[in-house]
């Protein structure tokens, strides 16, 4: 028994293990975690009608956002309520850079800095957009990593409002409140699945890396970590930037599959949904992020069908606007009260599986 505990604890307990073996272990772990996602994606790809493919694409975008959120929240244990700012920046970044010129003449003819006459191919547009996300993240992260937990959360909210307000009011570049249309639709389900797996593995590698471990340690006990020479600020900044880049990637992918975006997509509605997903699944693990997205995506779709007014046993129910919001909030409140660790708790999927196997053996 003590042997098995030691094996699970080994990365944290500091037992001498070959570094590349650890790397392989978290790589495999990440792949195991992304298996359910792959299976569901393949099922939808091969069996489902078009409408469900669209839903699945949206769910994959949420998945990437939630995994990005987990990278910061799960490791630093600071609530981040502003991640949609980066999703929006990614989406608007590629919208401004890659929309065909003919479309731009219609939508943003007066764009400053020559953006009205610039058209990049989708791949380089995505890279430039992510670069922009990275710069905004580095600047905002400088401030946020210096603050204590609560103040950092409030500033992340302020960032969301700042970015949203710029989208709304800089009409020459972002079209303001109107939908920005004509973005090339170049991303389908296969691309989305590949990138989801990449992101999940990346989040897992960060969590298991030296930096992730140190950041988690400093979240548990700031003083003990500081006494060991851990620079929590620098680690928070790293996690913040990585998290922002992943969220930015989600935005890029959203723009490339939907073709049309508007500012309100990247505001509180998205924050509520993704936060509820992460909390329900459990924010300590990447597995939690994946679980939460799968469970709530299905659950919300069911609730939305009731929300729009259904007929049960011949009785037409009225429209129940707000029902899905109530459900999301209730999920958050109940989780926090009764199971703060979420569904998956402290262990990743592969760790749970190997524990299960060992117990039955």
């Amino acid at each position: 028994m003590s042997h098995s505990v030691e094996k699970i604890m080994s990365p944290a307990a500091g037992r001498v293990v070959q570094p590349d073996r650890l790397l392989v272990r978290s790589l495999v772990g990440g792949l195991v975690t992304s298996l359910p996602v792959l299976v569901l994606g393949l099922l939808v790809l091969n069996l489902a009608p078009t409408y469900y493919t669209y839903l699945a694409l949206a769910a994959f975008v949420n998945l990437i956002v939630v995994v990005g959120l987990q990278v910061f929240m799960g490791n630093s244990n600071i609530a981040n309520l502003g991640h949609s700012a980066f999703v929006g920046l990614g989406a608007y970044g590629v919208a401004v850079l890659s929309t065909p010129l003919a479309m731009k003449k219609l939508s943003i003819p007066h764009a400053p800095f020559g953006f009205a006459t610039l058209q990049l191919d989708p791949f380089s547009a995505a890279l430039v957009a992510l670069l922009a996300v990275g710069i905004v993240a580095a600047v905002s992260g400088k401030v946020i990593s210096r603050l204590s937990g609560v103040a950092a959360t409030i500033v992340s909210l302020a960032l969301l409002i700042i970015v949203h307000s710029v989208f709304l009011n800089w009409t020459d570049l972002f079209k303001g409140n109107q939908a920005f249309f004509g973005i090339p639709k170049v991303v389908g389900l296969p691309w989305m699945m590949v990138l989801s797996v990449v992101v999940i593995v990346l989040a897992r590698l960060f969590k298991d890396s030296r930096w992730g471990l140190q950041l988690r340690a400093s979240a548990q006990s700031p003083q003990a970590a500081a006494a060991l020479g851990i620079d929590a600020r620098r680690l928070r900044l790293m996690a913040w930037i990585l998290s922002a880049l992943i969220c930015g990637l989600a935005g890029v992918l959203y723009a490339y599959f939907a073709g049309t975006i508007s500012p309100k997509l990247f505001y509180f509605q998205q924050i509520f949904i993704t936060l509820a997903m992460l909390i329900l699944g459990g924010m300590a693990t990447v597995t939690g992020a994946v679980t939460g997205v799968i469970v709530l995506s299905v659950g919300l779709e069911f609730i939305r069908s009731i929300e729009s007014g259904v007929t049960i046993a011949g009785i037409q129910l009225p429209q129940l606007l707000g029902l899905s919001g109530v459900a999301l909030g209730v999920v958050i409140v109940l989780c926090m009260a009764f199971r703060p660790g979420g569904i998956s708790g402290r262990y990743e999927l592969d760790e749970q599986l190997s524990r299960l196997l060992r117990r039955s053996a």
């Binding site: 600071i78 500033v155 006990s221 606007l321 707000g322 909030g329 009260a337």
Partner: protein, 299 residues
């Protein structure tokens, strides 16, 4: 001159409102470390109670004001009993997310049970008039806002300094465990803090209804975000800090409104947040906050 005075009054009135809401947040945070995102929905409950009472035939503005304050205080105490008590000793992030969840639930309940659209409430419109002082015309609402906020803060200071329960609240914000060892009931201290916080929100709600003449599900939410920013800039958990931060935010906003050309008016909120975040770079613990000692922190 007239213009300068008018803008000054504007800034003071905005600041007074932010201070009231920020104080409500700070009272609760200083005692139990709860970042109460649902504070805006306490304002919402208060406003919707006035709306419902008016729809049921209430006509007296005085009763409406009392109702608004009572409903808010009651809502705050109920929120605490139902949602925040289970997470009372949990880490700050847990409480914060719980409050965020409560805020989503209540906002959507307004949508579900009443309507997603703004509903008009005219019962308190009488508070919003023009008063003439010689050559000056001022909005009665702004003057009242300033006076009421001042009196409320005075009453709060007197209560905290002169009454036993007030003393217990101040002591609890320093060291809750010792206060309980002195034989003070934790539930009573916390319920009082929430009732005070709710009453402050109710007063703010009265002014909001009088100014807008309507209620909508998200009416408290954006105001509370601003109050949070005011708290952060003043130093989170510090009561004087919350009041000062609220005033500062009011002055920054009105200053920007005056300074910005008309077509950039939409950037007002964004710019005031940028200014405040920049201030935080130089004083991460806020203007009146103290650097937190983590040494003897209870886990």
């Amino acid at each position: 001159m007239d213009y300068v005075l008018q803008q000054l009054l504007n800034a003071l009135a905005f600041g007074a409102e932010y201070s009231l809401v920020a104080l409500g947040l700070a009272v609760v945070f200083s005692i139990m470390g709860l970042v109460n995102f649902a504070h805006g929905e306490i304002i919402g409950v208060s406003a919707y109670s006035v709306f419902l009472a008016a729809a049921l035939g209430l006509t007296s503005p005085i009763v409406a004001v009392l109702l608004a304050i009572a409903a808010a205080a009651l809502a705050a105490v109920i929120f605490e009993r139902v949602a925040f008590r289970p997470v009372r000793y949990a880490p700050t992030t847990t409480g914060l997310l719980t409050a965020f969840g409560v805020s989503i639930v209540v906002q959507n309940l307004f949508m579900l049970l009443i309507s997603p659209k703004p509903q008009s409430v005219s019962i308190l419109n009488g508070l919003n008039q023009m008063w003439f002082f010689g050559p000056f015309a001022v909005s009665s609402l702004q003057v009242m806002e300033l006076v009421v906020a001042g009196l409320t803060i005075l009453a709060l200071v007197l209560f905290l300094n002169r009454s036993t329960l007030g003393l217990a609240i101040r002591a609890a914000s320093r060291d809750f465990a010792t206060v309980r060892l002195m034989g003070i009931r934790a539930n009573r201290v916390i319920a009082t803090a929430f009732a005070i916080s709710g009453a402050l929100a109710g007063i703010a709600a009265v002014f909001i209804i009088a100014r807008r003449g309507s209620v909508s599900p998200d009416l408290g939410f954006s105001l509370v975000l601003k109050a949070f920013v005011a708290c952060v800039i003043g130093g989170f958990g510090s009561l004087p800090g919350a009041a000062a931060g609220g005033m500062l935010l009011g002055f920054i906003e009105v200053g920007l409104l005056v300074a910005l050309p008309q077509e950039y008016g939409g950037f007002k909120d964004a710019l005031s947040y940028v200014i405040i975040v920049t201030l935080l770079v130089y004083r991460p613990e806020g203007l009146l906050g103290q650097r937190v000692e983590l040494g003897d922190k209870e886990i």
